[in-house]
């Protein structure tokens, strides 16, 4: 699919959410291509930096990603030197995902790309409308 047509069947909200969300993900994937990353790598990197040293289980919960998928995503990020897996001081089963210096630099750069994707998606809304949209999205179940 490469075409992007406006007309919509029934104006259903779930359908509109799915389409807009899919577009956002595809646009971010395309923007991240030079980095060899996908949007889900970006969310893992971003959440790891924001919360500072989450376990993989916690990452999965926060991001709504299956634990087995977290493993693969962290594998990729670790291979690129963007995160480390540090031992948990008290629980030897657990491994804490920590962003490296290089990961922090990559995050700073890719964050700009994510902003750009959002800005383009929301280009026709004014500042107040953008805030309203985000607030409503946060209140969905």
């Amino acid at each position: 699919m490469t075409q992007e047509p406006p007309p919509v069947p029934s104006g259903r909200v779930g359908y509109l959410l799915a389409r807009a969300g899919g577009r956002a993900i595809r646009n971010l994937n395309r923007a991240l291509e030079p980095y060899g990353l996908r949007s889900r790598h970006y969310t893992v990197l971003s959440a790891s930096a924001e919360h500072g040293g989450l376990s993989q289980r916690e990452l999965g919960l926060v991001l709504g990603v299956d634990p087995s998928a977290v493993v693969a995503l962290v594998d990729d990020l670790q291979r690129e030197g963007l995160v480390r897996r540090d031992p948990h001081p008290e629980d030897r089963r657990t491994r804490l995902v920590v962003v490296t210096d290089e990961g922090a630099r990559t995050l700073a750069e890719t964050r700009k790309l994510a902003r750009g994707v959002d800005d383009e998606l929301l280009a026709d809304l004014d500042a107040a409308e953008k805030r309203t949209l985000e607030e409503l999205l946060l209140r969905l179940r």
Copy 2:
């Protein structure tokens, strides 16, 4: 001093859209299970009924679905007797997707399920907020 409204953390709206959209799709898929259909079958059936006899190419454009995927979806719906592929009166390459009587009945039933999924997703919003959200979603690029 007027409080500066919290800035929209750019890069976050796309993420929220993707998560909410994914939830909506999964919920609808689960609701449609008894019918042996997925959410994409529902959108094809719904658009075919609404526009009445679209070609497969037009269906793909309207729904943002790849033509090769439309073939598979229409195959499924046709096998279940929910749509027909009628010849185009003027262009023998084209096949018009037409909803059968049984398809119309199934659509009436599944539409209730789709509404239920939406209602649950939006349960914490009042009527005005629901309209606002839909209006904003329609204005995304």
